[in-house]
Symmetry: C2
Subunit: 260 residues, 2 copies
Amino acid sequence: MISVVLLGAGNVATHIYKAFSNSENISVTQWYNRTRASISSYANDVDITDQLEALKEADIYIMAVSDDSIAQLSSDLPFTDRFVVHTSGSVAMHDLDKKNKIGVFYPLQTFSKTAEIDFTEVPICIEVYEKENLQLLKDLAKAVGCKPHKITTEQRQTLHLAAVFVNNFTNQLYRIGHEICETKNIEFQILHPLISETAKKIQQMSPYMAQTGPAKRNDKKTIKRQLKLIEKDEHEAIYKMLTSSIKKTHNISSDYKVKR
Amino acid sequence: MISVVLLGAGNVATHIYKAFSNSENISVTQWYNRTRASISSYANDVDITDQLEALKEADIYIMAVSDDSIAQLSSDLPFTDRFVVHTSGSVAMHDLDKKNKIGVFYPLQTFSKTAEIDFTEVPICIEVYEKENLQLLKDLAKAVGCKPHKITTEQRQTLHLAAVFVNNFTNQLYRIGHEICETKNIEFQILHPLISETAKKIQQMSPYMAQTGPAKRNDKKTIKRQLKLIEKDEHEAIYKMLTSSIKKTHNISSDYKVKR
């Protein structure tokens, strides 16, 4: 049984709490947040506190707080030589105060308040300063059914950057699709199966192989017609930039095709 | 039983053939392609031909050919007063020769040679010139388990534009994510669950509500750090443009937040 104290009350903390409290091999000893109100609804299920001085002993302290608070909170902890990890994609492990043993437990997934997540599908990127704690972090990931991936701070930050492209930026393209549909009273829902299939396809083949469409085909007529159809300058700029990016990836110039 | 003659041998034609030949309520009378070799492997299952003069009688002629060939092929057809539809997202219905009755049967999905598609999940956008044929197209869609959506040419072209954003451009963002991972020897597969979840999330809430990440949070530190991490100018330009697009959508200026 791994005992855990959880710090923070945001989306990541809440999803971690739910996954951990459902695991037979993890006991959530305590849940800390600086404002008690955010976690008070869990008071019947777990020991909650807003006092750092009241923190109990545990195998791991998991700080699921905002990036900007990590360094400060880690040095405010009123103990030493315990094992403290953060859950951020972008903060360096070494930003944690070294009076404790340190590490990172980064669940690579998009968490929001309302959407339920199957935590067992979440890859956990782990990092430790003291080698002896590697197994504990691996065991923690496995205790919630997740696959642990040992990576460096640089790799984690790179993954986080790639995640911004495939998650936040992709979602913004969905948003633009939604806006475009609304201008002509089309239900955005008609695009749902296409969106699912686009995401599913690259689980079977590389995005390079999966590409289709006017830019990939160098179909100038359709591109020209679509640029005329676009009403917002911002959408036009994004259309042009991503069309040119696809052409570059597939070695298509405006005038001729070069086979890669 | 609806009898169909299929024209063309690309990805769309092949997926349509497979779905239709599995339906109890559709009979594929004949499959035409100008080069016989592309469909000859199906010769045991269906009557195939490369001669327009040999085309048999059927309730519907479905032209799943490239956009540029639609007008020409429709006027080359050696008969009149039959029902002819194309399957394109962007070609106007009126590009079809009006010596026949005309319509559109546009399956809104990404089709590639290798990926298997659950055709029953594909929305079919339909359009007819002669009202009496509307029901037949609806029945055809339903015969393969698909939901038919009656829309105008303008709506279809708008949908096709939106589809380029949520499918081709999204796939290019996956490609960039892949490239970024490769620079630091990270397996792109680690991002698969995030990509799935991002696509799944907007089936439950609007893309506007689903947005997360540094741009949405106006997290300048992370944005600055990520811009430093990016190695290719092209990726940097896309990062900046989509970050600014997210900020605009969520009414975030560089200096202050305005609640929407």
